[in-house]
Subunit: 234 residues, 2 copies
């Protein structure tokens, strides 16, 4: 199936995903780079005519990262006229050798139902789509200019993540199954963009009674070995 297939997708409706990962102390998201233009965009896609909206987003996530069963949350739907710039999609498609009628469904106005995902950086197998040269990680606090309103979409995703992090305790989704307290703290610091007091953080996390303590992690460094933790199941 090609993206240009006329049948099969709902017109006017797209989804975009802000896929967060954490590595080397930095919060990052995935961006696609379109052929030739060098333009950067969030990974996204369209909704099949007989597919749940959420399923479409899950499918898109799976296609780009290979991952299933991921923390995925819908956070906002962007539908201003200002985001309707048919020449952008037209240029992207032409760079791929597709020359469409001006009234082709892909050049029409779209609203974007936007999701954010939290994934374990280590497990991702990146796969570009057919219009893109690459899909790659970009640090959240030095993002380049993205197409359309995608920078605003990222900003809103980050805001939602910050608001929900402590209430829903979803930060662990960015880490491997077992992690040290320091790693968890780095995730929180990367998301909030500020340093957190070590002892306070440790006590707050342990006090929530959501962590299970496992064996120590011996790194070969000359200091006390930290415990490994995991989130309690159910």
């Amino acid at each position: 199936m090609t993206v240009l297939e006329t049948q099969g997708f709902l017109p006017h409706i797209a989804f975009d995903s802000v896929i967060f990962g954490f590595s080397k102390g930095k919060l990052k998201i995935l961006l696609m780079e379109y052929h030739d233009t060098g333009w950067l965009a969030l990974p996204g896609g369209f909704v099949r005519k007989e597919e749940d909206l959420d399923e479409a987003a899950k499918r898109g996530l799976k296609e780009r990262t290979g991952l299933d069963n991921i923390y995925l949350e819908q956070f906002y739907t962007f539908g201003n006229m200002a985001r309707f710039k048919p020449e952008v999609m037209q240029t992207i498609l032409e760079a791929n050798g597709f020359f469409l009628d001006p009234d082709h469904w892909m050049l029409d106005r779209f609203i974007s139902v936007s999701y954010f995902a939290l994934i374990n950086f280590e497990k991702v197998i990146l796969t570009p789509d057919e219009l893109s040269d690459s899909i790659a990680w970009y640090e959240i606090d030095s993002l380049p200019k993205l197409i359309l309103d995608h920078n605003a979409i990222v900003a809103k995703a980050l805001q939602t993540l910050r608001e929900n992090l402590e209430r829903k305790l979803i930060g662990g989704n960015l880490l491997p199954e077992r992690f040290t307290m320091n790693e968890l703290q780095q995730v929180y610091e990367a998301i909030f963009g500020e340093k957190i007091r070590r002892t306070t953080f440790q006590r707050k996390m342990l006090g929530l009674d959501i962590l299970e303590r496992h064996e120590k992690l011996y790194t070969g460094k000359s200091h006390k070995a930290p415990y490994l933790y995991s989130f309690k199941k159910v």
Copy 2:
């Protein structure tokens, strides 16, 4: 213009509004009752082809309540296949004397971008749409069965309202410009569905430094007259 106009609206995209009001100690929402069927639904509508999504929701709110400049927040977009029941819209339209082709755009699949609004009950001038016999207030904790997934939409709206009430301090939008502390407390109690300690509530609200104290309200009752408060501007 009639709802059946084929041109002018984006297909597949609808909006629905959960419009909250507060009266006589109860939290209420507005529901439409369709002709003949007796079916109840959230007020909603479609998005014009050259209209911002948010503008469409504002327009719908204005059409039903007469109100402008209202607290309105988009909270979720519902897009499961399970909500696609063309026979529901078909029955509603037939009850109004409209018999459409099965492939008419109004009988197609829709996703619903959902908004909730907080309004001053006293100021509303209710106006049914052309498919409805009535638009009226219903108490949130004894809602009847609504069409499609509208009960779930209301549930999610209420959940979002509860989560945002204290963070965004939006409760005052349900009250007149000036109100007593007791009235504000009743709003909070109606939204959370539980009693709040009077003195604690008063001190917390005053401590937030968002209220301005005005003259006392003499009701003729034989007890101390309460102060009137308003929210500080900016």
